[in-house]
Assembly symmetry: C2
DNA sequence: TTGAAAGCGCTAACAA
DNA sequence: TTGTTAGCGCTTTCAA
């Protein structure tokens, strides 16, 4: 079996506590062990290939060095949403960098609530990253009550103390819409996201604000409930295409890139060209936005940075450090590609 | 603080071991506790909101109920490859179902080796799922030496005892190629995957076997090294298009869907139509294959099932059960869409 | 500068 | 059917 700290101490001819101080000691100022003793302990550890048992350590220190990542959606979400993977990548990078580990929790169908609560209770994680928690999340309330470190990623904070990382979604909605207005569009539709997600409302508000600033009153018929999935964008676009041509939009601002792709497909099926017959703007600007045909102009969500920031905030809490800004709002920008006609399509003669 | 098992025992007026048997007892045949005592213990636990501390349990049982999932690639892989997420979803579903938890390990840049070894050593996981380990993986060798449960997902087994779940990649390569032959293609190219991945060689062999079976000698110029990324397919296709038209292929079988999309893009840039001017077959058949323009005909990898199977095999090992088949090979099939012309494109008149 | 000893919360012999 | 006891491997007082 693996060598324990006792084996090391015995071989080094010292006490266990000395070995502990040398090998895993947080070295809190006090140099507890003399250089010669230290050398012997280190040599013994080396010789035995000693590795501390993190379980035993956690039992006494009450710290595990493991962070929990909770995705609120069904496996369908994990399975096919680039948003998700980008968040995971960002979190992971930071976690590895800070020498933590990552435990994954998710809802699979109805088991979501169970997973959720268990993650909360689980002493095997030092803190939780909650991706898109439901509005007024009871999970967050409970974390606060029990003083468990957490950070929400994309969440409308319902109190000042809440730790939540967001993007400037209002500006995102505004940028997308302004871009379309600038290109001369007058009837601009919005495929609205899932109302249960914090980004949906501010994006819509940004859209409306841009319209109003341009003196264009938003039309109720042009705001159609969709969602963040491909299918929903597809259906929503089809509904939009049923409008009489005098009311039909000439541009749409979609809830996200997947939704935009659904719209593209619906347009394609009708034989309509993008951007000539209809301009389309997506949201998120994940790698997927470069893969559509035409590539999507899209509001860039700094998902990677947001995930890193969230992870850093969580680690700060875990380690008892101050978190200066509890509710950072990261800037978004507009990535212009070909789906709006602002940029000419690439020529064919290579 | 949270109630411990001692608190429960005290409140119930029993011994700790009785409480342990009732609350977390594996109940190994012997009913150790009388019904009345049991009731008191359960009531006490209920009243105190007792939750066992899994860390303390693990320390003594040497089982954690946590499985480790290791992805061998850089964050770029996690970030943008649907393969990855589908595997994750499959594993996750099974893990949740079996009431285990999942710890994530991955290589970020150079830290891969560290992550790797630590995961191996880490007593916080009962076993490891290794996704696409390198050929003759030292990790696997070490797992075997140290009798640590593991399962490889997509790995060419180098010994009979190795636990590895694969798809029938040879048949996959054959199916793709036969399909193209059946459609009348004579010059069929293959964009070959990363040689460091176990699937690459058998796919290529299947491709060659199909050609030979049809009396068509494979042409070296038509087998071009690419990889599993978008960019690689793009570059490979461009190279192929530089061939004199008499040697230029009329169809390509790409390493995977991402690679195929790269090829599609190269073709589009040259003004070539798919499938009219060039037929394209992808591989993996993840959701992404439905998103390309045109949607890809693709060899279906049963990634979800493979991941579930791998997880089940791992859990069986962890729980000391027999694994009847150590090297299952799951069947593949061909999903026909529009990128080969076998199926007419959908009409535009809805 | 060092070591002895008491636990962290739990399980699992073993004894009663 | 029950309780006592000895740890799991480690950290951390406290005393020397």
């Amino acid at each position: 079996m693996a060598a324990t700290i006792r084996d090391v101490a015995k071989l080094a001819g010292t006490s266990v506590s000395a070995a502990s101080a040398v090998l895993n000691g947080s070295g809190r100022g006090v140099i507890r062990v003399g250089p010669e003793t230290r050398r012997r302990i280190e040599a013994a550890a080396e010789q035995l290939g000693y590795m501390p048992n993190p379980i035993a350590q956690s039992l006494v220190t009450r710290r595990t060095g493991v962070l929990g990542l909770i995705f609120p959606y069904s496996s369908a979400f994990i399975d096919r949403n680039p948003f998700c993977t980008q968040v995971m990548a960002g979190v992971f990078e930071e976690v590895v960098h800070a020498k933590y580990n990552l435990m994954l929790y998710t809802a699979i169908g109805d088991e979501w609530n169970a997973a959720d609560e268990n993650a909360l209770i689980d002493p095997r994680v030092d803190g939780l990253i909650l991706v898109i928690p439901a509005p007024h999340s009871p999970v967050i309330a409970r974390c606060m009550r029990e003083r468990r470190p957490y950070v929400a990623l994309v969440y409308e904070p319902d109190a000042e103390e809440v730790y939540a990382v967001n993007a400037d979604e209002f500006t995102g909605g505004r940028l997308a819409t302004e871009h379309l207005i600038r290109l001369g569009h007058r009837r601009i539709a919005h495929l609205r996201g899932d109302p249960g997600v914090a980004s949906t409302a501010p994006r819509e508000r940004g859209y409306i604000a841009a319209l109003e600033a341009a003196g264009m009153p938003p039309a109720a018929a042009l705001i159609v409930p969709a969602g963040f999935d491909w299918k929903e964008g597809y259906e929503a676009m089809k509904r939009l295409l049923e409008l009489p041509s005098s009311q039909r939009p000439t541009a749409v601002f979609a809830a996200n890139d997947l939704c935009a792709e659904g719209a593209l497909r619906a347009l394609r099926e009708r034989g309509l060209r993008v951007p000539e017959d209809m301009a389309v703007v997506g949201y998120d600007d994940t790698w997927f936005a470069t893969m559509t045909q035409p590539p999507l102009t899209s509001v860039h969500m700094p998902l990677y940075e947001m995930s890193q920031r969230a992870t850093q905030m969580l680690i700060a809490q875990v380690e008892g450090n101050d978190v200066a800004v509890r509710q950072p709002v990261l800037p978004v920008s507009l990535t212009v590609r070909e789906s709006c006609g602002a940029q000419s399509a690439r020529g064919g003669n290579g």
